[in-house]
């Protein structure tokens, strides 16, 4: 998943968002347009609130994932 896919420039319809998160482009052909065209901004806000880590919350808010390892300096 590239840095461009972390949702910073989030489009608000479900189809574009799925593709931006790494789904194959063909996913839009497999789903009805009423679904792929769905405005997901409210859903994203809700998911962010309940603490989905990394993939969703991190991607929409641009914050660092809570599961990122914080490496410490070592003194020999």
């Amino acid at each position: 998943m590239s840095d461009d896919n972390n949702g910073q420039n989030l489009t608000s319809d479900l189809g574009s968002w799925l593709i931006s998160m790494g789904a194959p482009v063909s996913i839009t052909e497999l789903m009805p347009t009423e679904i792929t065209g769905l405005d997901i901004a409210p859903l994203m806000t809700m998911l962010g609130g309940i603490g989905i880590r990394g993939g969703v919350r991190g991607s929409i808010a641009g914050e660092q994932s809570a599961d990122t390892i914080r490496w410490l300096p070592i003194i020999y």
Binding site: I50, L72, I75
Partner: protein
Amino acid sequence: MSSNLRITCGVEPQTGSVIIPVAVSEVFESLMAPFGFFNPTKGLLGELNFSRGVYSLLSESEHLEFESVRHLAQAISDLDSIGIALSQMDSEEFAIWCGLGKSEARTHLLELMNSIDQVRIRVQKAELRLDFVQYRPSPKVLMRSLSQLALVGVGCDGRQLQRAWSKSAPESLPKKWVTRFESIRVFSGHGTLSEREALLFVFRVKWKGVGNTDPAIGMVRNHLVIELGGVRRFLKLPAGCSRMEPGSVQLSKNKFEIDFVVKESEWPRS
């Protein structure tokens, strides 16, 4: 799961020989597809490839084969990472992650977490065999990979190692290397927190020879991470550490210490 597990390192695993429980495979499918890109733990799991090694460890086979000691250590490390990530996830998150409400998701999650715990016990009790006939690493590389294996809690019998070496090499293993291999100690996975002075605590981890292994040490949530060349071991920190700020790591030959400074703003005053 039985404990009569035999693991051979140094042979090409046979394809199709691994049978894993249905619940486990379903969780892994949820991890990867069709909503696998929902990966909720990108930080821990994002760098992993859910390799055959992880599946092998979760299988019920009584004989497992890995290409090398390094591959076995990496598989155990990857499985540990998955275990840590899953244990941090609550059921609500998991239900969303695994496809917005699959009814059996929670049961499968619990089953997988239990399996991961059992795998650790099973692997530590396993009979480990080395085979250098197809490929014999240099003593230096072997020292590194055996240290990685020791980090994830698995030891290797020195006599078995020498026998395997003799079968593949015209000359026996030099005494210098025998001594070095025998000096490797399995990491216990424990540390202690003690008060050094007011508002300053130290978390001390003893592991013989750790100073020679060039580890990277970090933190993720409430766990300490010790890494040797991509192989990781996680150590649960005492609860108080989450309200303290870690400092640098003081690494010496047989131990390392991390200072934790109390963040006064995080503690209520009486």
